[in-house]
């Protein structure tokens, strides 16, 4: 492993740790729905939720950054430039995350002054981290961009994939600046906030994971560069072709003009089409290799990515995206159901796959296989399906009773929340969340030990290879 890849392993480790924090805080957040008065005024729902959603964003980002540090030197045949500075920034980032989390937990909020936004909580969803930490994130990402650009320049080499990655880093970085302002007018605040959130997770992050998957497929299946590059360009064309104006599906109800109902609805309805293409591609790749690979877990997680993305983002999204439906589903557990499934399929599965790919090389293992990863794979995916299924029931109950029938008042909200279908749905969510947590624990166990050289009698080693 070169220095850049060792840094990648640090990022992957931090990512998995934050994934764990996300799981624990997720279980906690789920429990509030079933236990009135839980930790009231000590650790309220909002604090648990902030920790849950921020760790989600961070663990995925760290997974992406780790993946690039891993693949870049291989891709450009040159050690990553400025990797020492990258290492420093990694530790600064970890320290900042720890401080911010402790402040969220123990200080929680301050008076309605700018100083609270600078040091405690900015109070905008996903970007609650205080401004000082947001500046830190900007610096970390700036160094990361410098690492990538510097390596391209020093190596005097660029590939199609790296070119897409580089160009994509510009808007990815620039959009984060929207995390800073505190705009009084909520319509304007949300307008720009959605540029950050949507053009991250439904545009630039899609391109980023597309680049990472392209690099991963070359390693995992030996797919030719020409093929993954061609496919990457097709993906960019289709994903951005639908996703940029698909931003409009967040502009139905926030004070923006009514033409967004048509534009956002149309492009959003087209978003599943490229995802279906990705499913076909995944099956094609699986088939042409007859499911044979020396890294079974990575291969399965890549398949899970294609299918999870299609169902979580495509199917669940399409169900609720047309304005006439969305008017009722907007801002309910229905949204939560779609959000969890989409993030899982589009990003989490891909990051896990890349970690397994890196581990195979890091541990110099001929073959990665075993039992633990299969159990972890099953529990995590079944857990996720169960959670989003429960949330879908709750969300539909909410849309039905609170919105369609009840008139969306506090009274209607209460009736929706106490409706038996709703309560059963969130109970199912917690139960499957526990399964998911077990899957996570097994994932950690497997990542710690898979591929590590052990003393095998000769016959056993051959047997291990034959079961591949």
């Amino acid at each position: 492993m070169n220095r850049s890849q060792r840094l990648a392993m640090k990022y992957f480790t931090a990512a998995i740790v934050l994934f764990g924090v996300m799981v624990v805080t997720g279980l906690l957040t789920a429990t509030y729905y079933l236990q009135d008065g839980l930790l009231l005024n000590r650790l309220d729902f909002s604090t648990a939720k902030i920790l849950h959603i921020n760790t989600m964003i961070l663990w995925l980002l760290m997974g992406f950054i780790g993946a690039i540090y891993w693949f870049l030197p291989l891709e450009l045949e040159h050690e990553t430039v400025g990797v020492r500075l990258g290492e420093v920034m990694f530790w600064i980032l970890c320290a900042a995350i720890a401080v911010v989390a402790l402040v969220f937990l123990f200080v929680q909020y301050g008076p309605a002054r700018e100083t609270s936004l600078w040091f405690i909580n900015q109070g905008r969803k996903y970007v609650e981290a205080p401004r000082w930490a947001a500046i830190g994130i900007v610096l970390v990402v700036a160094v990361f961009v410098y690492n990538v650009v510097g390596t391209v320049i020093r190596a005097r080499r660029i590939t199609g994939i790296v070119a897409v990655l580089l160009i994509n880093l510009v808007p990815l970085f620039a959009l984060y600046l929207i995390a800073f302002p505190a705009i009084t007018n909520m319509a304007q605040d949300l307008f720009w906030w959605w540029w950050l959130v949507h053009l991250w997770v439904e545009a630039t992050w899609e391109i980023l994971i597309g680049c990472i998957m392209a690099l991963a497929l070359m390693q995992l299946l030996g797919t030719s560069r020409r093929i993954v590059e061609t496919w990457l360009y097709i993906e960019v064309a289709l994903v951005l072709g639908t996703g940029i104006l698909g931003l409009g599906h967040h502009y139905f109800w926030i004070g923006t003009p009514a033409y967004w109902l048509a534009i956002g609805g149309l492009f959003s309805a087209l978003e599943p089409l490229p995802l279906l293409g990705m499913v076909v591609h995944a099956v094609y790749d699986a088939g042409t290799h007859q499911m044979k690979t020396s890294n079974k877990p990575a291969f399965y997680w890549v398949m899970a990515e294609a299918f999870g993305n299609f169902i979580g983002a495509g199917v669940f999204g399409f169900m609720m995206t047309l304005p006439q439906i969305n008017l009722f589903s907007h801002g309910t557990q229905w949204t939560v159901s779609h959000g969890h499934f989409a993030f899982w399929g589009a990003y989490a599965c891909g990051v896990i796959a890349v970690i397994y790919i890196a581990l195979q090389k890091a541990r110099d293992a001929d073959v990665l296989n075993g039992r633990a990863w299969k159990w972890s794979f099953a529990l995590l995916n079944l857990g996720m399906i169960g959670m989003v299924g429960g949330l879908l029931i709750s969300g539909m109950a909410q849309a039905f009773y609170e919105r369609a029938m009840g008139g969306s008042t506090l009274d209607a909200f209460m009736r929706g929340q106490t409706n038996p279908w709703f309560v059963q749905g969130v109970a199912v969510r917690l139960a499957f969340g526990l399964l998911f947590a077990m899957g996570y624990a097994l994932l950690v166990y497997d990542l710690l030990r898979i591929g590590k050289r052990r003393e095998y009698p000769l016959g056993e080693r051959r047997e291990a290879r034959a079961t591949m």
Partner: protein, 197 residues
């Protein structure tokens, strides 16, 4: 075949992205004009001293805010700068207390607590909280609830006490009143009216 040539798809990716970004640019410029304070969909902050309602508009085919006559907030008239200062403060309250991590605003946020888009118009203030708090006006009941929610619970899921000062609570209430006047293309549908099946 050119379809197998990555350069063809690279050109496709660049042009498709460029076209969409240009369209987004034009729509953004237009939307920003509509959503600025005082724009077509967003009343100026001085609307806090007007009566605000929400009714079905036959011509538009949807529910729309209706701005009525004078209704000074907290019994006092606010000049434009005073109203702006109050609403600025209100937004700082909402951010400093991370209200959006329990509640939703225009349906965005967290789903543990009610949507606040039309909270100003909620019948519960008159029906439940004004009697509970003995307040003479809706906004007074809102302020008293926000300052001491534990004293005036209405169901088993309680709002935490976020240690709001009087000034902060008034600013938050003003913010909610202003927010209820924004044109949201009919969200939430038929607020306050229960559908008979």
């Amino acid at each position: 075949m050119y379809l197998a040539d990555p350069a063809f798809w690279r050109a496709g990716a660049i042009s498709s992205t460029a076209v969409m970004l240009v369209v987004l640019g034009f729509l953004t410029v237009d939307s920003l004009a509509v959503i600025r304070t005082g724009g077509a969909n967003v009343p100026p902050y001085t609307v806090i001293d007007r009566e605000i309602a929400y009714a079905f508009d036959d011509a538009a085919g949807m529910y729309r805010p209706v701005i009525g006559g004078e209704q000074p907030l907290f019994g006092r008239r606010h000049t434009a700068p005073e109203a702006e200062a109050l609403i600025d403060k209100g937004k700082l309250v909402i951010q400093s207390r991370a209200c959006i991590d329990c509640h939703t605003f225009f349906g965005n946020g967290a789903y543990y607590a009610p949507d606040l888009t039309k909270a100003w118009l909620d019948p519960a203030w008159e029906k439940m909280w004004m009697p509970m708090t003995q307040a003479g006006a809706r906004e007074e009941a809102m302020v008293m609830f926000l300052m001491e929610p534990q004293k005036y619970p209405t169901w088993s899921r309680q709002m935490p006490n976020l240690r709001l000062s009087r000034e902060e609570a008034e600013a938050a209430v003003a913010y909610l009143k202003w927010m209820s006047s924004v044109e949201t293309n009919g969200f939430p549908i038929h607020f306050g009216h229960i559908q008979q099946n």
